[in-house]
Amino acid sequence: MSLRVAVDRQRCIGAGTCIFIAPTAFKWREKEFLKAEVLDPETVEEESLRHAAASCPTGAILVEDSGDPAPWANDPRRR
């Protein structure tokens, strides 16, 4: 299954839990202060990605199947 992984830069608060859980999938964003970004999701198992997303205190990480997740998920405001 193909997964889409993204970090919402405005919501990210730099707690770093995603980097702690999956350090090869996420990293600190260059030239930014306390922001994470996606590095290489392929290096870890899907479960690690999901747990990294779940552990984000500000809900800034999106991990979704490329398939249709929910009827309102295409509403950009619900990210």
Binding site: G16, T17, L39, T43, E47, S55
Partner: protein, 1246 residues
């Protein structure tokens, strides 16, 4: 004005039975007691009628209170044992009245009188509107009494009873929830016939063996506590409805409650299906049985927009909330008795209701719900909403679908035998099968037609079709129906054709109005019409519906109706639509009409203007009810009919609104191009400007922010030229949002590498000035919030610039960035601005705005200390987010809570506050366990185990590993084996068991390799290297050190192959190599590797550092005795990070335990932290002098828990909890929950 009517039950009887004197005595008592109450509650006595009163009240609440007062008075009177009991009927209604010559007139008055006539002695009945006006004002208890016909009113009224004798309610036997018994009791089927009518004369079901077996299997699965969805698709007449009927029987036999709801070709109001479902008598009866009437009523209120106002939720959230509340209502019914919900004719269902079905299915996996979805295949190539719902559910493995096939020849014969009650010959069956093409409906129709025409005869005990029938040209159904219609006399035929235009279901009163309009003379009586319909019923063309249904008749099949409509001349059809439209229009004020239906009838009647007008109203209402699809449908229906430019502009505006809510930005742009073209054609500058502004918003929705900025600037220029302040404000808002790349209320921490915060700031500064000038407080609050966020973003930008010049700005972890004056100032300003926004939102009562501002405040406070440091701030954000979310989704609340706890656990483990890590980890585990989320349970338990290992509590760690192992057994997650082995290895290493540690970790390594996870492999290798190096050094085990070395070298090779990251793998490997060299006495190699590791750790170190305490400890060991700047800096940073972690661990016992572990005592000796340690205050201190329990309660208040929920959580009664909450508010200087949340953020208490 609220009007109350009262009268004494049985007053006439009393007079005849006991004589005038006795009656008069009783009436005098009644009069006196009533007048007292009227005066007490400030009523105005309009009329006194001897045995009754008409009283007017300025407030609905006073009216109800007075009615309760009256009933209580008489109850007391009757209790004193008088000779004659007095029982009074009371009815109330609210509405506009006309006052003339001392009395009141108006529909509202008439209705009140009719309502009181529906009451029994001792009852108070009120209308929906009176109920709505008092809901939430005082705690009245209402019982819904259902729909009533009121004399003189064309539509039905929803009436409610006011409960005034609470004791009676309390004593009334409550339905006992059905125990989940294995053997279902013989329950009477609660299949109540309501909106969808089950035909009384149905034939035994024929064929469909596979379908029925599947349904039976599903019903068993549901009874065992799992949701099941079965979707059937098939052409008209194939027997979908029949299958639904047989399913209801099967479900009832297993003790299920059932409800059937059908889509309707013409009625497609927002949530039509959902509304029909929630107001069906079946579901009401089931809810009563399950004792969950309240949830059902709440759902009905929310769906019809009568619910508690949820200010400021986005449309998507509102819709979600509607789904959620409805789902909760349905699930609560199913919890008491398994429920079968059968949806028929879904091809006509509104999209919002379809989404609800999807929502129910997706969120109720463990509810005993059986859902059947029946629909026709899509007529054209376009995929219908119902079809795509079923396809999606099937793809997600949540539903099974089955196409209903035509009957076989044998099945046709069986069907005919059942129908004709005499066996048919093989030839006859074959002939009918061919003619009916295997479609049961057609077969039955052919058979009936031939039989009734005398074309079938019994020959040798079997029915034979006569030659005449065989030789007829292959008739189509149209002809068949024609034949059936031919049996009717012309009067009945015309009448039923008129009725067909009204709708699939119709009422006698509607038909009467139609006939009157068509014939222009006196209306026929309903009785007369009913008589004239008798032959139609006899011909099985329509069915009479039971009394309690809201319609009188329904057509047996749409084909029949379609054939009939085709016979009605166009002019006549228009007249009928017109009559129905006027009738519906007249009933509008009483809320009895569906606007969408009204608009449809007007458009069909040729009254385009009216049709357009009501379509616009429908669209408005739909948007208001958060049903954008319905709004879109209404707009598109009226689009061709709109003549005036105003109407056309308004329709385009509504279309844009609906598309915006649906997130369909591309279509918005097309719609807005049309709006621009219209504006240019009309030379309407204001409309053109509006189109431009909307285009900026639509472009922003496509995420083309540069273009959106350009358009907003264009609009701004035009608005300024025209000196149009409101338009300029809108343009400034658009500009701000385009530049900040987020809609209002949704930016939190702008990244300056992404957005130009200063430019966004300029736009919002202008917006603030304009909002102030115009006096638009709500926009002012929204802008102020964005300004606070921007100020925080500017602070971030400043820090980045400083870091550019001085990269070691944060290297001293004990140094406080807030001491830098520019940072301090930006901090204070951002907080001040956001607090202004919070205050403004609170004044406005905008809960969502308030929460969103509070979250922004928590973001902007991130560097301020809390009891648990940074973790405390994160916890605040998550608590507030939960509170915000709580407004929309109860269904996902528990899960969100569990993840919230987990996130704080992970953060605390990685950064230090170990007490918080244990506390939240345990809570996360328990929450996940309760939810049945095994995967989360596993991770939370593993985290707790590792925390105990760090604290040296091996036994506890092993216990938690067992819990993790238990969860791993049942999870579907495939990662746990590797995770568990890693954790086991780490715990064994903490216990000093080198053999156990390497055994488990090597197994983990093997699993990571097998799974092809390079990240996982590198992680396990680096842990192996570090643990083996430390254990080998401690035990002076050269063999282990050698293995450690090879693992460390492999880690380095692996990490080079991975993308450059912030992973600690290479640093850990160098730390292990340093330790190995150190143990071997190779000072140079130890130093070299240690310096390498130090540089790598520094490279991945952020202002809030991960501790990575074990590898860093090894580096510190290797650097003992080296006194150069690099070594000093490393020690200083390590000391700083550890001290911060210890500082934030506010539980004294846990901190002491941690410090006493061999690793920590050696570490503190090496890096020198004893002086700083002495400065750590005792942990129990919570700001504002709160106790730890109080801080916990405040945390719950912040997350939106009620006093009752808090009481339950802390194991005390509600009163005590309320008292605690009050005490906390006092201590922190808050007067309400919102202020408490603000103060908790501001003062850093959680």
């Amino acid at each position: 004005m609220t009007v109350l009517f009262s009268d004494v039950e049985g007053s006439t009887d009393l007079r005849t039975r006991e004589g005038d004197d006795v009656a008069q005595e009783v009436m005098r008592t009644h009069e006196k007691m009533l007048r007292e109450q009227i005066e007490l509650f400030g009523g105005y006595e309009v009329v006194f009628m001897g045995d009754g009163f008409m009283v007017a009240f300025g407030s609905a609440r006073k009216g109800i209170e007075c009615a309760i007062g009256i009933q209580r008075c008489f109850a007391e009177h009757n209790a004193t044992g008088p000779e004659h009991h007095i029982r009074v009927r009371i009815g109330l209604n609210t509405g506009e009245v006309v006052r003339e010559s001392g009395t009141l007139y108006g529909t509202a008055v008439n209705a009140a009188a009719r309502i009181s006539a529906k009451a029994k002695g001792g009852e108070i009945l009120i209308s929906q509107i009176t109920k709505d006006l008092t809901t939430g004002v005082r705690d009245f208890t209402f019982l819904e009494r259902g729909m009533f016909d009121l004399k003189g009113f064309p539509t039905q009224w929803q009436l409610h009873e006011v409960v005034w004798d609470e004791a009676a309610i309390a004593e009334a036997p409550k339905p006992v929830p059905a125990a989940p018994a294995a053997v279902p009791e013989p329950v009477a089927p609660t299949r109540l016939l309501d909106e969808t009518y089950v035909r009384p004369d149905r034939l035994p079901i024929v064929g469909r063996n596979a379908e029925r077996a599947a349904v039976d299997a599903d019903i068993d699965a549901v009874a065992a506590g799992q949701i099941r969805v079965y979707a059937v698709e098939g052409e008209a007449g194939i027997g979908k409805t029949r299958l639904i009927e047989s399913t209801v029987d099967a479900a009832a036999a297993k003790g299920f409650g059932s409800v059937i709801v059908g889509g309707d070709e013409e009625l497609r109001g927002p949530f039509f299906i959902l509304r029909t479902l929630l107001s069906s008598t079946s579901i009401q009866a089931l809810a009563d049985k399950a004792n969950t009437r309240e949830a059902l009523e709440r759902a009905r209120d929310v769906v019809s927009g009568r619910g508690q106002s949820e200010t400021g939720l986005s449309p998507a959230e509102q819709t979600l909330r509607v789904y959620d509340v409805a789902t909760v209502a349905i699930r609560s019914i199913a919890e008491s008795q398994p429920l079968a919900m059968l949806f028929d004719d879904l091809q006509w269902a509104d999209e919002d209701s379809l989404k609800l079905i999807r929502y129910i299915v997706r969120t109720s996996s463990t509810s005993p719900l059986f859902i059947m979805l029946a629909q026709r295949p899509d007529p054209g190539p376009r995929v219908g909403a119902g079809t795509s719902l079923v396809a999606d559910l099937e793809r997600m493995g949540l539903a099974r679908r089955k196409k209903l096939e035509r009957l076989t020849r044998a099945e046709t014969a069986e069907l005919l035998d059942n129908l004709l009650e005499t066996p048919v010959s093989q030839e006859t069956a074959a002939a009918l099968h061919a003619r009916g093409e295997g479609v049961p409906f057609f077969i039955v129709e052919f058979a009936r037609a031939f039989r009734d025409a005398g074309l079938m005869h019994v020959v040798g005990g079997k029915l034979e079709l006569s030659q005449a029938a065989r030789s007829t040209v292959a008739p189509n159904v149209q002809i068949l129906i024609e034949r059936r219609l031919a049996q009717l006399d012309s009067d009945a035929r015309d009448l039923i054709a008129d009725a067909a235009v009204i709708g699939r279901r119709f009422r006698l009163s509607e038909l009467r109005d139609v006939e009157q309009a068509l014939n222009g003379d006196a209306a026929p009586s309903e009785m007369d019409l009913a008589d004239r319909l008798e032959p139609v019923i006899a011909a099985n063309l329509v069915i009479e519906l039971p009394e309690e249904a809201s319609y009188d008749y329904t057509f047996t099949h749409d084909e029949i109706r379609a054939a009939l409509i085709a016979q009605v001349a166009r002019q006549r059809r228009r007249k009928i639509h017109g009559a129905i439209a006027s009738r519906l229009e007249a009933a509008l004020d009483t809320g009895g009409s569906c606007l969408a239906t009204l608009a449809f009838h007007f458009l069909e009647s040729g009254e385009q203007d009216q049709g357009v007008r009501y379509s616009i109203r429908t669209a408005h209402d739909s948007l208001h009810a958060f049903a954008p699809e319905e709004a879109l449908r209404a707009v598109d229906l009226a689009k061709g009919a709109a003549q005036s430019p105003e109407d056309r502009a308004e329709l385009l505006r509504l279309r844009d609104h609906a598309l915006e809510a649906l997130g369909r930005a591309e279509e918005r742009i097309a719609t807005l191009a049309e709006m621009s073209a219209l504006a240019r054609a009309l030379g309407d500058d204001a409309l053109e400007l509006e189109a431009t502004l909307r285009r900026a918003s639509a472009t922003r929705q496509t995420e083309d922010f540069d273009r959106a900025t350009e358009i907003a600037l264009e609009a701004l220029e035009i608005a300024q030229k025209r000196d149009d302040k409101p338009a300029e404000l809108r343009a400034s808002l658009e500009l701000g949002q385009a530049r900040l790349q987020r809609p209002l209320g949704e930016s939190y921490s702008p990244a300056s590498s992404e957005v130009d915060v200063d430019a966004a700031g300029e736009a919002y500064a202008r917006a603030l000035t304009l909002a102030t000038e115009i006096g638009d407080e709500s926009t002012w609050a929204a802008v102020r919030r964005e300004q606070g966020v921007i100020r925080w973003g500017q602070m971030r930008k400043f820090v980045l610039e400083m870091l550019e010049q001085k990269p070691d700005l944060f290297d001293d972890p004990t140094g406080d960035p807030r001491e830098i004056p520019e940072i301090r100032r930006a901090f204070d300003e951002a907080q001040g601005i956001l607090q202004e926004a919070v205050a403004a939102y609170e004044r406005l009562g905008d809960q969502r705005g308030l929460m969103s501002s509070l979250i922004a405040l928590a973001y902007a406070n991130i560097l301020e200390e809390t009891r648990h440091g940074h973790a405390g701030r994160l916890e605040q954000i998550r608590l507030l987010r939960r509170n915000l979310k709580r407004l929309t989704s109860e269904a996902e609340r528990a899960e969100s809570d569990a993840y919230m706890l987990f996130s704080i656990q992970v953060y605390s483990r990685s950064h230090g506050p170990l007490d918080l890590a244990l506390l939240r980890g345990t809570e996360a585990y328990e929450a996940a366990h309760a939810l049945g989320n095994r995967s989360l349970e596993l991770y939370a338990a593993g985290g707790v185990a590792l925390t105990y290992a760090v604290l040296g509590q091996i036994a506890e760690a092993e216990t938690w590993l067992d819990k993790a192992g238990g969860a791993a057994l049942v999870t579907t997650d495939s990662l746990p084996d590797r995770q568990l082995e890693t954790w086991r290895g780490q715990v064994r290493a903490a216990a000093g068991d080198a053999e156990g540690a390497t055994r488990h970790l090597e197994r983990a390594l093997k699993l990571a390799t097998e799974r092809g996870s390079p990240g996982g492999r590198a992680e396990v290798l680096s842990i192996l290297a570090v643990e083996a190096a430390r254990l080998g050094a401690d035990a002076k085990d050269e063999e282990l050190l050698a293995r450690a070395q090879s693992w460390a070298e492999e880690t380095l090779t692996m990490s080079k192959a991975l993308p450059a990251s912030d992973a600690p793998f290479a640093a850990s490997a160098h730390a292990a190599l340093a330790q190995i060299a150190h143990a071997r006495g190779d000072r140079d190699a130890a130093y070299e590797n240690a310096i390498e590791a130090a540089a790598e750790f520094k490279g991945i170190r952020q202002i809030f550092a991960f501790l990575y305490v074990e590898p860093r400890f090894l580096v510190a060991r290797a650097l003992v005795g080296f006194e150069d700047p690099v070594a000093d800096e490393f020690r200083m940073q390590l000391r700083g990070d550890v001290i911060v972690a210890l500082f934030q661990t506010s539980d004294d016992a846990i901190r002491a335990r941690w410090l006493s572990t061999p690793l920590m005592s050696e570490l503190m000796g090496m890096v020198g932290g004893s002086e700083a340690l002495r400065m750590i205050p005792s942990g129990a201190a919570v700001p504002a002098g709160l106790s730890l329990e109080q801080a916990d309660i405040l945390r719950r208040v912040m997350s939106g828990q009620t006093n009752r929920e808090i009481a339950e959580a802390i194991g005390r009664d509600e009163k005590e909890a309320a008292a605690e909450v009050t005490a906390i508010f006092e201590a922190i200087g808050a007067t309400n929950r919102n202020e408490a949340a603000t103060e908790a953020v501001r003062q850093g208490i959680v």
